[in-house]
């Protein structure tokens, strides 16, 4: 009986939606019928009209010169940015010196003991192994540099995020004002931030840390606010009735109740900071990211992988440990003694290392994986690039993909009259969201035109659309397989972990070796990067489908395929929409980096701006990427997400 009503209400929803959709489209068509002839008469159709663009080359060039000329003398730099920069350098240096002083044995022991206290013996062993592997790969010092950078960036992000989240959690007005800002910060591809921070702080660690904070603080803020707002009303009332002041209520009831969200926020912040640590190597962050980047310069995939593996290991360890902390019980008295023992043990190991003069990782204990990895990559590219019987080679596929998919898509988008692009964006965003989302999306798209980068932006958009299509086909198929078989899911999990955390730079050379220079390798790299998220969300969504609904379908004699098509997929619709949205955002982030392998368009302009210190080109392209990200997010944002994330 229960399932029957569920099915009935489920059928009812789309019909109701459809009626509303028709109304929205009719309204939009009416507006278009009035506005389009006007626009067409005034500015003509085709590409974005020149009259509606603003050329920022001159003012941005002047701003850049002003900053460089005044950076050593102006009070703004001497008394503000200079301090920020110095504080970052000192903090990173402090952590780095502590890590070096602890030596490899001390750091490994401390990490393992923290993992033991937080998450148990298994993760402790895993953590120790992960750190030792970093050393074995000959990456101990770069790993410590990255770790120092991460500690400072994560602390700063957590403090900033928690403060913002606290403000939003306690005041409705702040919450409303902050939400669109956080929304926006989260959809921006990190690559677009780099140039402005570099201009002010110069190449190096301070710029890298600040760019990381901008990227990593939003999840902390969001989850803090969420935790505070969701606190159990009954508990709060009870505390209030005991006569606690507002401050006491916050510290004794609301914050402890939000513990789970706070720890999840920490987890998310760490993961985002780590992914940024690599991108920040483009602006001289040093550490592991820099090793990956330097290895790329000599086309050495093996060396890039040797530096990439420690990043993956750090990410997996930190993810599991903070994740376990979020699920575990709260701290209590008996656990404190355990912490004391752990601390004592770590100090003992560190001192032992110190007195035996074993601080630096011994050179003899390194394993060189570069040569064998390069042989594998060479073999792959030798045998797959062309001349595979019947199938052609990867180079041919890439060529066909470019000519048959990317070219028509790009030419088609660029051929569309500018106002029709705006109309399509408006229609899509409105159908899936509210008039507000539609307005944001249209304004973002229009801003791209105003900035004067309409054509390259549509080129980037074409690459994103093609990559998203491929990602969704592969992702949904894999997700369905994983949802139906536990074994497949178990096998997939480590693979997905690796793909999700491996720095994107590592795959750039293999994709060029397989697909040649151009847009095709950029698309391929984006698919690899976005696939895990899509697979995960799809699997979770399908598995969360009410088992009763499935059971009843089975009892009615539905085949596996029928169950999937008629019950599972429709019921998992919100999750699938979220998968689309995440796929789009992640694909955009990597298609941009594809500028490094011939993707051209906006990504190339950002790299060009960074490489040539050309603020006008780089910043305008960066802003266009931001607008594109915002538009794509709004157009694909399932209405459910707002309610769920709610923050």
């Amino acid at each position: 009986m229960a399932t029957a009503t569920a099915a009935a209400s489920h059928v009812g929803v789309p019909a109701f939606l459809r009626r509303r959709a028709v109304r929205k489209l009719a309204l939009l068509a009416l507006a278009a019928a009035v506005l389009v002839p006007l626009a067409d008469a005034r500015w003509a159709s085709g590409t974005w009209p020149h009259a509606l663009t603003v050329d920022l080359t001159e003012p941005l060039g002047r701003a850049s010169d002003w900053i460089i000329d005044n950076r050593d003398s102006h009070p703004l730099f001497l008394y503000f940015f200079g301090y920020v920069s110095n504080a970052v350098v000192l903090a990173v240096r402090g952590v780095y010196l502590v890590l070096l002083a602890a030596g490899w044995a001390g750091v490994t022991a401390a990490a393992a003991l923290v993992a033991w206290r937080v998450a148990g013996v298994r993760l402790a062993a895993g953590t120790a192994v992960a750190f030792l592997v970093c050393g074995l790969l000959g990456m101990w010092v770069p790993t410590m540099q990255t770790l120092a950078l991460m500690v400072v960036a994560v602390l700063a992000s957590v403090v900033l995020g928690a403060l913002l989240g606290l403000a939003a959690g306690l005041s409705d007005r702040t919450h409303r004002a902050l939400r669109p800002i956080l929304d926006t910060m989260q959809v921006l591809p990190a690559f677009a931030y780099l140039l402005p921070v570099v201009l002010v702080f110069g190449i190096g660690v301070p710029a890298a840390v600040l760019a990381t904070v901008v990227y990593a603080a939003p999840p902390m803020a969001r989850l803090t606010a969420l935790g505070l707002r969701d606190a159990d009303g009954g508990v709060l009332e009870a505390v209030e009735s005991l006569g606690a002041t507002a401050r006491q209520r916050l510290l004794t009831a609301r914050l402890p109740l939000a513990r789970k969200e706070l720890l999840l926020g920490l987890n998310q912040t760490i993961m985002m900071a780590l992914s940024m640590a690599v991108i920040a190597s483009v602006i001289g962050a040093g550490g592991l990211g820099d090793r990956v980047y330097q290895a790329l310069a000599s086309v050495d995939v093996g060396a890039a992988l040797a530096a990439g593996i420690p990043i993956v290991l750090l990410a997996v360890v930190l993810d599991r440990v903070t994740g376990a902390a979020g699920e575990g019980p709260g701290a209590d008295g008996s656990r404190r003694a355990g912490w004391a023992y752990a601390a004592a043990a770590a100090v003992a190991v560190a001192l032992a290392g110190r007195f035996t003069h074993r601080l630096d990782w011994p050179d003899a204990w390194t394993v060189h994986i570069a040569a064998p990895v390069n042989r594998v990559v060479d073999w792959m590219t030798d045998h797959l690039y062309s001349g595979v019987p019947y199938l052609g080679g990867t180079a041919d596929w890439a060529g066909h993909f470019t000519t048959w998919v990317l070219d028509p898509l790009r030419d088609g988008l660029q051929w569309l009259p500018w106002w029709s692009v705006l109309l399509i964006v408006a229609a899509l965003a409105w159908l899936i969201g509210t008039w507000r989302t539609a307005l944001t999306a249209v304004l973002a798209m229009a801003a791209i035109g105003v900035l004067g980068v309409w054509k390259p932006s549509l080129d980037t958009l074409a690459q994103v659309l093609a990559a998203v299509a491929v990602t969704l086909v592969l992702g949904f198929a894999t997700g369905v397989a994983a949802a139906r078989s536990d074994r497949v899911e178990r096998l997939l999990r480590p693979v997905l972990d690796v793909f999700q955390t491996m720095p994107q730079f590592v795959y750039l050379i293999p994709v060029v070796a397989l697909f040649g220079v151009g847009r095709a390798p950029a698309v391929a790299a984006a698919v690899v990067y976005a696939l895990p998220a899509v697979v995960r969300i799809t699997t979770q969504g399908l598995r969360a489908v009410d088992p009763a609904a499935l059971e009843s379908a089975r009892s009615l004699g539905a085949t596996g395929g029928q169950q999937l098509r008629q019950v599972q997929l429709p019921l998992a619709r919100p999750a699938l929409l979220l998968a689309v949205n995440q796929g789009v955002v992640l694909v955009l982030a990597v298609v941009i980096i594809g500028g490094l392998v011939g993707g051209g368009a906006l990504g190339y302009d950002v790299v060009f701006g960074l490489a040539q210190g050309d603020l006008a080109t780089g910043l305008v392209a960066g802003a266009a990427i931001v607008c594109l990200g915002l538009m794509l997010d709004r157009v694909t944002q399932p209405t459910g997400r707002r309610a769920k994330k709610g923050a």
């Binding site: 050593d72 001289g284 750039l508």
Partner: protein
């Protein structure tokens, strides 16, 4: 209640820590021109920070300088990968101490060397650089006339790729390189599309793939470069370079000049950098030397350190002069 107390204590500690941090940074003005890397000079070692550019020639300079600084002069060396133009900026701020291979940036030279005096020239590297258009030698041998720009249009259809549309492809490299290629294609009325590989790594990978299949290609490339040993290439003659013919970026219609590559140091480091600064000023080697190291790094996949060691072991007379 006890938990609440510990939280508060922790907050106090954190605030105190921040205060100490602020005090330590000094109360006066914070100087943006004195910003060493936080990783420099750890454990009381004397540190030199070298900037590395993305091409392997520049990596070779740094590898050898690094090896000698570490093993003969007792420095600890940090390297940071930065493109040339940002490297000038980083040099002026003291984030890096030296830039060992500059291909000519008159605008930056005027700003930082002459006006602000935050960067000091450190003499020539001993290597002369040249940018040009190249075709693989196997293609030039089949079609000798391809090596003159006037005949390039004849070959456009053979050089077409999926990325170049209906035109021939002129493969360009990293966005950090000096290039007039778009203007050249336009002004010389060539039926070519400039395709930017976006990074040298991507460009080299693509060229090697073409070479493996003996496919024709036309590329922006530069000497000295180790890849010539692996993929022999022949330069395509462009209209001769004359002083000032590349003054207007839009009207360029001539070849690229030959540039003696230069070294630059942070001005403070040049003055007070002691032995390291003296050594870097004297560092000067030949194109053959650089190529030897570059080939070991990029083709034989030795680590830069191993390659530097090999070269150092075999060329004592060259580097002994730099240490005196």
């Amino acid at each position: 209640m006890t938990r609440h107390m510990t939280r508060r204590t922790r907050m106090t500690t954190m605030t105190a820590g921040l205060a100490v941090l602020l005090l330590a940074t000094g109360c006066g003005a914070a100087d943006m021109t004195k910003q060493a890397s936080p990783f420099a000079g750890a454990q009381g070692a004397k540190t030199v920070t070298l900037s590395v550019q993305s091409w392997v020639g520049a990596q070779s300079n740094v590898a050898v300088a690094q090896y000698l600084l570490q093993h003969k002069l007792g420095y600890r060396v940090d390297t940071v990968q930065v493109d040339e133009v940002p490297a000038w900026d980083a040099l002026s701020q003291g984030r890096v101490d030296a830039l060992l291979e500059d291909w000519g940036h008159p605008e930056q030279e005027k700003r930082y060397v002459q006006d602000k005096k935050t960067i000091a020239p450190a003499g020539g590297l001993g290597v002369t650089g040249h940018i040009g258009w190249y075709v693989p030698t196997y293609f030039a041998e089949q079609h000798p006339d391809v090596t003159d720009w006037r005949n390039l249009n004849k070959y456009a259809s053979q050089l077409r790729t999926a990325e170049s549309g209906g035109k021939g492809q002129l493969l360009d490299g990293s966005p950090s390189y000096v290039t007039n290629d778009k203007a050249l294609v336009n002004n010389l009325k060539l039926n070519y599309q400039v395709v930017f590989a976006g990074s040298e790594a991507a460009q080299i990978t693509q060229m090697r793939q073409f070479a493996k299949e003996k496919k024709p290609f036309l590329t922006y490339w530069y000497a000295p470069q180790w890849l010539f040993k692996k993929v022999p290439m022949t330069e395509v003659k462009l209209p001769a370079y004359k002083e000032g013919c590349d003054a207007d970026a839009k009207k360029v219609a001539c070849a690229y000049p030959h540039t003696p590559l230069q070294k630059y140091l942070n001005a403070d480091f040049a003055k007070s950098g002691g032995k390291a600064a003296r050594f870097l000023k004297k560092f000067k080697w030949t194109t053959e030397d650089q190529n030897e190291v570059a080939l070991m790094i990029a083709d034989q996949k030795l680590t830069p350190e191993e390659a530097a060691k090999k070269w150092v072991d075999g060329h004592a007379s060259t580097w002994k002069a730099w240490l005196s």
